[in-house]
């Protein structure tokens, strides 16, 4: 099992795509993103890639790495990329669009804001509005991260082999956020938003409870028994998928 490869995949396919939610949830972030009408490709040699497209203040992340990019940044190794995300020094090689590289200062501001939401300070978490945004982004990070875990983490292959087909709706009550997962023959797709008639439903009773869950401060089975989390439908799907989500935090400490 290549820990650096898994971590690089998580950074590019679970963390960085959260810019999609960031610019929707935070007006300051949106204003910055509006200055970035271009696309940036992050490419790791022997590892993952992603293309982030900024248009009119919105962001889309293409995690298969396909698509036109105005700026191309090459990381020579997974370790080099991971250093960038974990506070170390890492300077990628701009292999395309070097004349536009100045735009990266705006991008840097966005990633700082993203870090603020995904790794919040105790002070920030005192603010209810902030907590709600943190939960939405953490929910999508965890669920998206499960895709990487399922693909690359050999320890979790037993779980993957037991993963039944179906859809899961994750709801934070009373008003969201919502996210949904589709599993078909071990292939996992994660999307933001509500779906009807999910195979499995997991409802978390409030943003604060969800925040505790994502901070690994919650005894999930205790919460299920107490009715703070409500699970219904094909419980084995929820249980196996949550094992993958749980594993994400092993890497994204």
């Amino acid at each position: 099992m290549n820990k650096a490869l898994i971590l690089a995949n998580l950074h590019l396919h679970a963390v960085l795509p959260r810019l999609e939610e960031l610019v929707k949830l935070d007006s300051e972030a949106k204003a910055i993103a509006q200055k970035l009408n271009l696309s940036i490709k992050f490419l790791v040699r022997g590892g993952p890639s992603v293309v982030l497209t900024f248009k009119d203040g919105n962001v889309t992340a293409n995690t298969d790495g396909e698509g036109k990019a105005d700026i191309g940044l090459l990381f020579l190794s997974c370790d080099q990329l991971n250093a960038l995300f974990t506070g170390g020094k890492a300077i990628p090689i701009p292999y395309k669009g070097i004349i536009k590289i100045g735009a990266m200062k705006h991008f840097g501001k966005l990633t700082e804001m993203l870090t603020k939401y995904l790794k919040p300070s105790d002070e920030d978490m005192k603010d209810a509005a902030f907590r709600a945004k943190h939960v939405e982004m953490s929910l999508m990070t965890g669920l998206s991260g499960a895709i990487t875990i399922a693909k690359y983490d050999t320890k979790m292959q037993k779980v993957v082999n037991h993963l039944p087909d179906g859809t899961i709706l994750f709801s934070v009550l009373p008003d969201g956020p919502y996210a949904n997962v589709s599993v078909e023959r071990k292939n996992i797709i994660v999307k933001n938003g509500f779906i009807e008639n999910s195979t499995t439903t997991l409802e978390m009773n409030g943003v604060d409870l969800a925040a505790d869950m994502f901070a690994d401060k919650l005894d999930t089975f205790a919460a299920l028994g107490a009715g703070e989390i409500r699970a219904s439908g094909l419980l084995t799907l929820g249980d196996e998928f949550n094992a993958l989500v749980d594993r994400v935090s092993y890497y994204l400490v």
């Binding site: 320890k155 089975f221 299920l224 028994g225």
Partner: protein
Amino acid sequence: MSEYSFDKSVDMFTRATKVIPSGISGNKNPAFAVPGTFPYFAERGEGCKYWDVDGNEYIDYLLGYGPIVLGYNYKKIDEAADKQKKMGSAFNHPTERSVELAEKMVEIVPWADWAVFGRNGSDVTTYSIQIAREYTQKRKIIMAKGAYHGSHSWCTPGHGGLIDEDYRQVLSFTWNDATELEDLVKANEGDVAAIILTPYHHPAFADQVMPAPGFWADVRRICDENDIVLIADDVRAGFRLDIGGSGEYLGYKPDIACYCKAIANGYCMSSAVGRDKLKNAASKVFFTGTYYTSAIEIAAALATIEELQATNAIEHMMKMGTMLQEGLKAKAESHGLQVNITGPPTIPYMSFSNESNFRRSQLFSGEVAKRGAILHPHHNWFLSYSHKEADILKTLDIADECFGIVKKEFGS
């Protein structure tokens, strides 16, 4: 029909979560049933009924997940246990009860030559694979996909606290697919120590599947041709199909069989029995636990087996189970609902035919519990000798009302 509330159960659970991880661990955690419409804590039992901490009375078809085969608080068994209790239980040594029970096990299981005793099913399933490895000097274990053989690290369905090496030597195949099994054995030629199977397939969260004609004969042949020990995990079904073990009912003879659940009517006991050829290997496996030789439970097991024989309890359970199965099917059909009733009559399970996500089952089971019966939505049920016709009829009345609720919520 009035509906129960579970306030004390929930309060007690909240109290428990402060000092017990998950509040209630494993499959007895409320998350595995229907949280909020199922009892969490029991208070007392009598016959086929028990009462929860809210004082709600239930006709029970889960029976402690199987052990209560004669009935809660069954006088003859408790008397045997009490008699031994007065003499003592946890000694430096086993008592004569151990020898008596081993003799009894060898007597009732026709092919068995020896017996040992543990406390839980996992004790003896793990012990059995160790014997197989010792006997064959091979590594791999084959089981059916989705089967449950206990909570030890080689077979637990859980996720926490495991490392790859725990289950690296455990392979699986699709139940009833003898060709897939044979291919798996060939692919691991010379390295398969044991095939461990339940008498029929009874995974949680799924319908039960009886063995296809010829399946067990194929398994036996594959084991014999490849020097593989055949282990029957009869922990759940043992003594509910035949007093000689489920192999007598289904027509197979394993090399080792594991029993627990019904062996002692609720006293914590398990047993492995085996053929003479494995006795030396068994003697080389260090098998012990602080309470493995405790005499109270062994006395209870002896009394339970004798009572099962004396009362012809299995035949009674078959009759009551058939009445329950047929009654549920008829009640469901009267509401325009289709249900699958699977497994033998003494260990039935019901699911709704037109769904795979258990939502109808969860609503049905929750509503049934609120009206005084326990029919688990995700796990097979059990009959006991204490279930009488009146209990089945009352259960069917409850089910009738609850099928109506399912129909109203989901349509057909």
